[in-house]
């Protein structure tokens, strides 16, 4: 779907918000997603809490990372995700060069039998901000190798367009640094970025609480990815529910079209017919 062609979700007035998204699916690289919330699996204290949070969030797409096999690891993440019937979105978290990211993506494809890759190439240890040059290089190579590439990028509209032009299936701009919980720090850039590309925009990183996710959707993002805000909340399952509702509310509000901001009041009650008292 070309998001610019479908600004208004077709939601009948009588449909309760909890059922609305089924009328307004998200299409990425030919795959239909009925939930616009993508869940990061990192940071959950247990696989049980991850499974419960997946159910509460309603997500259909969950990220995983690749690391060396730990013979002492308990429980199978793969089994939990298979039972939850979600699709996997492997990432290249921890990679600092295009070379490492490309090799990691190829290993993920081999391990998980998916062409989808959330491409992360980190350029700074303190902020975990993307390295734009290496990111573009890796994205190009992976698109050529047949991957469905979803790059974690900055909120720069020009870079987003470059990523789209080389064939990325979506772009994933950050709201704020990974795990910072600072929300959408630059809503202006995110809305410019939304206008700059036609591929789906998934706000990634920075979401701290439900209102951050709702704001991203109100700005026109097609989906939101949340990890730490859910997995590290005091009650992850409850926050997963909150995020689900926030993403739905934000999407509906975006489709509904907000009123313009005004400097002064604008009465909604007419002055006409106002009684006169002495």
């Amino acid at each position: 779907m070309d998001p610019s062609d479908a600004p208004a979700p077709n939601v009948p007035a009588e449909t309760p918000p909890s059922e609305a998204p089924s009328n307004d699916p998200l299409l990425i690289a030919g795959r239909t997603l009925h939930s616009r919330l993508i869940l990061g699996s990192g940071g959950f204290p247990s696989l049980e809490l991850l499974a419960a949070s997946i159910r509460a969030s309603g997500t259909e797409l969950v990220t995983v990372a690749l690391r060396r096999v730990d013979p002492d690891a308990r429980g199978s993440l793969i089994d939990v995700l298979a039972d939850a019937r979600v699709e996997l979105l492997p990432n290249t978290a921890g990679c600092h060069t295009a070379r490492d990211a490309v090799l990691t993506a190829k290993l993920a494809r081999e391990a998980l039998e998916t062409d989808w890759i959330k491409l992360e190439v980190i350029g700074d240890e303190d902020t975990l901000l993307p390295d734009a040059v290496e990111l573009l290089r890796a994205a190009e190579e992976l698109v050529d190798a047949g991957f469905v590439v979803l790059p974690y990028t900055t909120e720069d509209p020009v870079l987003a367009r470059r990523l789209q032009d080389i064939g990325c299936a979506a772009v994933m701009p950050l709201g704020a640094p990974i795990g910072s919980g600072m929300g959408v720090r630059n809503p202006y850039s995110i809305s410019l970025l939304r206008e700059a590309v036609t591929v789906p925009v998934v706000l990634d990183a920075g979401v701290g609480t439900a209102s951050d996710a709702a704001l991203a959707m109100e700005l026109g993002c097609d989906a939101v990815m949340v990890a730490s805000a859910i997995s590290r909340a005091q009650d992850p399952v409850l926050m997963a529910r909150a995020m689900r509702a926030a993403v739905q509310a934000g999407r509906l509000a975006y489709g509904a079209g907000r009123i313009p901001r005004r400097r002064y009041a604008s009465a909604s009650t007419p002055d006409e017919g106002l009684a006169e008292f002495r």
Partner: protein, 67 residues
Amino acid sequence: MILLNGRPSDVPPGETLAAVLARLGLSLDARGVAIAVDDEVVPRSRWETHTLADGARVEVLTAIQGG
């Protein structure tokens, strides 16, 4: 000497990747596992036949929670 997941190992040269997997308690059909030897992916279909040369660097990876 063969490096297995970044550590010197007692895996002898000539051993197959299938045998290396067994050392890690994994079977050939283990789900969510991938192997790189000297920075190249070795597809699952070659795990039984791919033998390791002395000095090989083997990375056996799997999916973990992340992102």
